[in-house]
Structures are given as C-alpha cells and as structure tokens.
C-alpha cells in the first residue's frame, strides 16, 4: 500500500533523545536513593522523598513518552497522522514536566508520584498547597497531551478501519471473512487508545477533584474512591507505556527474522483480553484494603494471574517461534528487543505471585514490589525504547553485537538483573519500600543494589551517547535535520516485510 505520508522521524528522534536523557537522569536519582539507603551518601529524608517523587513521576512519564513516540513512529506506516498533534502532545508534556519539577524541587512537594489523597494536602508543613496544585496541574497537562494524541490516533484508525472493533480484529475473532486484517501495530494501538483514554479521563477527574480539595478543603473527597481512581489511572497508564512500546517489537523483529509478525486470530483475542484485563487488574494494589468488597479483591488476584497468559502464550511464545531457526543476526537492536519481551515475561511472575492475597499480606509495599516492576520496566519498556533508539541509528547494514555495543549491553543487562534480584531478596527479607532511612541489617543489601544500579546507569549512558552520536553522524552523512520531518535518515522503507497488508 502506497502512502504519501512519511513517519515523523525528526520529531520522534528528538523525543527519543529527550527520553534517553531523562531515563538516564532518573536512573541517577534511583542510584542516589539506593546509595542513601546504604549509607554511602547522606541525604536528608526531606530531599530523599522529593527524589522519590521525582523518580516515580519522571520514570512513569518518560516510559509513557517513549512508548508514545515508538507507537507514533510505526503507526505512520499504516495510517496518516496529523503532524501538529505530535508537537502539541510533546509541548504539553514538556510544560507538564516543568510544573512537576518546579513543584518538587522549588516547592518541596514530596507526595509520591501516586499523589495518594489526602497526602498532597497534608505535608506536615513541608510544602505549600501551591506546590501540590502545581504538581497536579503538571499531571493534568501531560494527561491532556496524551488524550489529544489518542484522539488523533483513534480518529485515524477509525477512518481507515471503520471502527475500533475492526481495528481490534473482531472480524478475525468472529471468524468472518475479511481481506482487511489490521496489522499488529494497529491492533495494539486500538486497544491502548481505548483503555488509556478511559484511564486519562478518570485520572483527570480525580486530579481536578484533588485540586478543588486543595484549594477549597470544605469539598472533601472520599479516600477510598480517590484511591481506586488513582490506582486505576496509574496502573493503566504505566501498563499502556509497555503496550505502546511493544509495537517496536512487532515492527522491527520481522526485519531480522524475515518472517512478518502477523495478526492472527489468537493475537487478536489476546489483545482483546488484555484490553479488559488491564482495566480490572488494578485492584491487586488494594488487596490490603479489606473494606473493599471481596469480589474486587478476588478479581484483582485472578486477573493478576490470568493476564499473564496472553503475554506468555501469545507475545512471548510467538517471539520464540519467530526466532527459532530464523538465523537472525544479533545486534544491539535485536538483542534489546528480545530481552525486553523476556524481561517483561519474567517480571510478570513475581507480580502474579504478589497478586495472591495470601502472599500480598507479607509482600505488599516491601521491596518486592519495586523488584517486580523494575523487571518489566528496566528489562521491558526501557529496553524496548533503547532497542528502538539503536534501530533508528542503525544504518542499512546489521552489524553483529561487538565492541562497545556488546559491553554496554552486557553491563546494562547484568546490572539490571542484579539490581532486581537484590530488590526481590530484600522484599522477601521484609524490607519496606520507600523508606529514606534503613535499619542496619538492611544496609548490606542496599549497597549491593547500589553497585548494580551504577552498572545500569553506565550501560544506559552507553546507549544514549551512542544514539546521539549516531544521529550526529547520520545527519552529517545525509544532511538531514533533526527537527525536520524528512524521512531520509531511517531505513523504514527498505527491506521491510509487508506485515500482512494487502496492497
């Protein structure tokens, strides 16, 4: 199919510089926190919790940003997208970041990225109402940006495929004959557009209600309802970042295996199941709120387990099948993309286990929790983003993994695995999460964790520097401009499998 439209490679490349830099910076903040817990650094609790808030908000936001950039780029291959929308999205995102950083490091806000009601309003004198309002306005701006992004994506998908049901592959699921099967990127995008728009609309509501409560405390908010809405919003949003970034795997891996990633019936079913599950799973954050009806907690436990099935049996299984016997080459891109699915799958296991109410009683809010979500972020979403970045500057030839690339890759993966294992072990040793000051018996673990964190930072710096250098040399070679929308710099047009489309 011949589209006159070209992906907005300039805007996306710029966004990935931003994402890579912020990822690195936020990782440094994480490293500082681990070092402070290990008493290698002296950080006052006041500052520690500000760093904690910045690390959480920054990582979630950047995961969302990089995922959105990946999806925008590849959707450009299938549907026309209005360029201005991406710039509006990016501007609102950056404006939101300014509000959030100002609120934390100028206003002293340290209410955690989850802004759990009513903590933002009750700082014990540490920050003013204005700082909390600024934080939430920042979130709201970012949310508005994402909403506009999804409206554009949803609108173009509907124009092209006649409705989200078709884009989700319902004809395929219902066994109807169709010659217009949506490619995997579209199926993923349609699902993400639906569930993350719902999350943002509800998230915006709870943000505005919190702002009203901050400014006019007589408007009280029900703490349990606020908690439900916040975790619904937060969980769906962070999940959406992975579900957007995985499009890079669907679109890039076929270049290596020579086998198109097809939308099959089971693939479509898996994504429709994910669409429902992702919105019902957040109750596993509330398993210790025993005032909630039992059916919600049971749903939380069941969905935590069963949402692993589409991931393991469809995404991970398919990837393994595509890899086997493909004689594919291993460069930084393919290695990172494959490790990202592996990390995501492996990370779902401690998550599902913690999703059991009986286990949750002794694991919830220990370091087990950061242990599992760092697995599918560090070795999942973030690895997908870095893999995408490596691919953007890859050039036409696939070089095998060697030299500095290999060193960065091994450092990153080794550091991440060690970092995560320390978290899980500490969680099993009942070390609570989000403590600025640790007991003496926990400090050894913190120090080991710090060393692994330093390795992750090193590997990340390698990836980011390599990417920026790659862009510079590529631009010198082709005269391309980063801010332009020319498509000359990437290789999306060459040697691309047709991905199941009919011309």
């Amino acid at each position: 199919m011949n589209y006159s439209y070209t992906p907005q490679s300039g805007a996306v490349k710029f966004t990935m510089i931003l994402s890579g830099a912020v990822f690195a910076l936020m990782m440094v903040l994480g490293l500082l926190m681990r070092a402070a817990q290990g008493e290698w650094l002296d950080i006052e609790p006041e500052l520690f919790y500000q760093i904690l808030t910045a690390h959480g908000a920054g990582m979630v936001g950047t995961a969302g940003l990089s995922g959105a950039a990946v999806m925008w780029y590849f959707l450009g291959r299938h549907i026309p997208l209005t360029k201005a929308v991406f710039w509006i999205f990016l501007s609102l995102f950056i404006a939101g970041v300014v509000f959030i950083l100002g609120s934390i490091f100028v206003g002293g806000f340290a209410g955690g990225w989850t802004f759990l009601f009513p903590l933002p309003a009750m700082s014990g004198g540490l920050w003013e109402v204005g700082a909390a309002v600024s934080f939430m306005l920042g979130y709201t701006l970012i949310g508005v940006g994402f909403l506009i992004y999804y409206i554009e994506v949803g609108r173009q998908i509907i124009k092209r495929f006649g409705g989200l049901a078709n884009a989700l592959g319902w004809q395929l699921i219902l066994g109807r004959k169709t010659d217009d099967i949506p490619p995997p990127a579209i199926v993923a995008a349609a699902a993400v557009v639906i569930f993350n728009s719902i999350a943002i609309v509800l998230g915006a509501a709870v943000l505005v209600v919190s702002i009203v409560n901050l400014l006019a405390p007589e408007f009280e908010v029900d703490a349990l309802l606020a908690k439900n809405l916040i975790y619904f919003f937060g969980h769906v949003f962070i999940n959406a970042s992975i579900y957007m970034a995985v499009v890079a795997v669907y679109e890039i891996i076929p270049e290596y295996t020579g086998r198109p990633w097809k939308t099959t019936r089971i693939f479509a079913i898996a994504w429709n199941v994910v669409l429902i599950f992702v919105m019902a799973i957040y109750w596993h954050h509330l398993l210790q709120d025993t005032v909630l009806p039992a059916w919600m907690l049971i749903t939380g436990q069941l969905v935590s387990y069963f949402s692993g099935i589409p991931l393991l049996a469809v995404t991970a299984f398919s990837l393994c099948v595509y890899i086997r016997g493909s004689n594919m080459k291993w460069d930084l891109t393919s290695a990172l993309l494959v490790i990202s699915i592996a990390g995501w799958s492996v990370g779902s296991i401690p998550a599902s286990i913690d999703g059991m109410i009986a286990v949750n009683k002794v694991m919830h809010n220990t370091q087990w929790v950061p242990g599992h979500f760092h697995t599918y972020l560090l070795l999942g979403e973030v690895a997908m983003s870095f893999g995408f970045m490596a691919w953007l500057v890859r050039g036409k030839n696939i070089r095998t993994l060697s030299g500095l690339d290999k060193a960065a890759f091994i450092t990153y993966v080794f550091g991440a695995v060690g970092f995560i294992l320390v978290f899980l072990i500490s969680g099993a040793a009942s070390v609570p999460r989000r403590w600025a000051v640790h007991l003496p018996e926990w400090i050894l673990q913190d120090r080991v964790g710090t060393i692994f964190a330093a390795l992750v930072v090193l590997g990340t710096l390698g990836f980011v520097v390599r990417y920026v250098l790659g862009l510079i040399f590529e631009n010198q070679a082709s005269g391309d401009q980063i801010s332009g929308d020319q498509n000359s710099g990437d290789m999306s047009s060459g040697g691309q499998p047709s991905l199941g489309q009919k011309a």
């Binding site: 919790y49 904690l52 340290a110 955690g112 759990l116 009513p118 903590l119 009750m122 700082s123 014990g124 703490a223 908690k227 089971i266 210790q288 709120d289 025993t290 005032v291 039992a294 049971i298 436990q301 069941l302 069963f306 692993g308 099935i309 049996a313 469809v314 991970a316 299984f317 393994c320 099948v321 890899i323 086997r324 016997g325 004689n327 494959v338 592996a342 799958s345 492996v346 296991i349 401690p350 059991m356 109410i357 009986a358 286990v359 009683k361 002794v362 694991m363 919830h364 809010n365 220990t366 899980l424 969680g427 099993a428 040793a429 009942s430 609570p432 403590w435 600025a436 000051v437 007991l439």
Partner: protein, 169 residues
C-alpha cells in the same frame, strides 16, 4: 513464608528465562517442523488449568477472614503523621487478634514485624474507614508496628511496639 515465596518465584522466573535462552540458541539451528499451534494451545490450557487450581486453592479459605469466636480479641490501631496508637500494650499469645485499623489523616499501612524483623501481616490504614485483619501470635515477645504506606517525611520513623504474652486461663 517469605523464603518459600522467593524460591518459587526465582525458580519460575529462571524457567521462563531459560526458555527464552533456548530459543535464542535455536535461532542459528535449522528450523524444526513442529506443530506450533498445537503447542500453543497446550500451553494456554496448561496455564488456565493451573490458574484455576491455584486460585481455588489459595482462595478457598478467605485470606482476610476475621475471627469471630469468643476467644477473639480486638485491638484498635490508629495511625497519624507520624505515630501509631495501639489501645493495648499486651496481646495474648495463641488467641486470634482482630486488628481494627484506621488513621486520622493520610493513608498509612500497618505492618506487624516480629523480633527478627520479619513481616507477619499487614493491612492498610485509610482515613474514614476501618480495615480489619486477624492474626494469631504463636510466640511471645516484643513485636513492632511499622508504616508500610508512604505518608510523608517521617514515614520511616513511624513505628510502635507491643508485647505478646502468655495468659493463664
């Protein structure tokens, strides 16, 4: 309990990682003729059946059941920035204790630790609500209450303690 959870998790995680590793190693080998669809179906059904089994096994006895017998003791715990108020200093050994937990300001989490700093049980403290959890202590000694939900600048200092003592009938 925690060492067992850790062991099971690490083993399953290692198995999944190993399957990936085997696929990666198999990339350079000639493709095998096998029925992928059939194996996938087996995998899905295997996971579903195992899931149903484990769900029933772990939920048949409701983990949040509250003791209601004559033996049951009620202990009220109230949290606030940044303190725990426990309405008793001594808790009897071997009897089910119902902790009624709430908070005066923001969300907290009540985690009960034994003298080895092992987490025994926890429940959230919510403003405007009372969460209930039952625990039966089988060893006398000093127990600590730690805050498990981030609640502001002194979150890590929010601790209190109580004694579990043997009571003669």
């Amino acid at each position: 309990m925690q060492p067992l959870i850790l062991t099971i998790s690490l083993v399953v995680m290692a198995v999944v990682a190993l399957l990936f590793w085997r696929s990666v190693r198999a990339a350079s080998k000639p493709p095998q003729q096998e029925n992928v669809g059939k194996r996938r179906t087996q995998l899905i059904w295997g996971l579903v059946v195992f899931g149903v089994f484990i769900s029933i096994a772990s939920l048949r006895e409701w983990p949040h059941a509250i003791a209601s017998g004559e033996d049951a003791i009620v202990v009220n715990v109230t949290g606030g920035q940044w303190w725990w108020e426990i309405d008793t200093e001594e808790v009897p050994l071997g009897k089910p204790v119902n902790f009624f937990v709430t908070t005066e300001d923001v969300n907290h989490g009540m985690g009960i630790y034994n003298s080895d700093m092992q987490l025994l049980v926890q429940v959230q403290a919510m403003p405007g609500y009372t969460n209930k959890v039952t625990y039966t202590f089988d060893e006398p000694g000093l127990y600590q209450v730690l805050c498990m939900e981030y609640c502001g600048v002194s979150h890590h200092d929010m601790t209190n303690e109580f004694n579990v003592v043997a009571v003669d009938q």
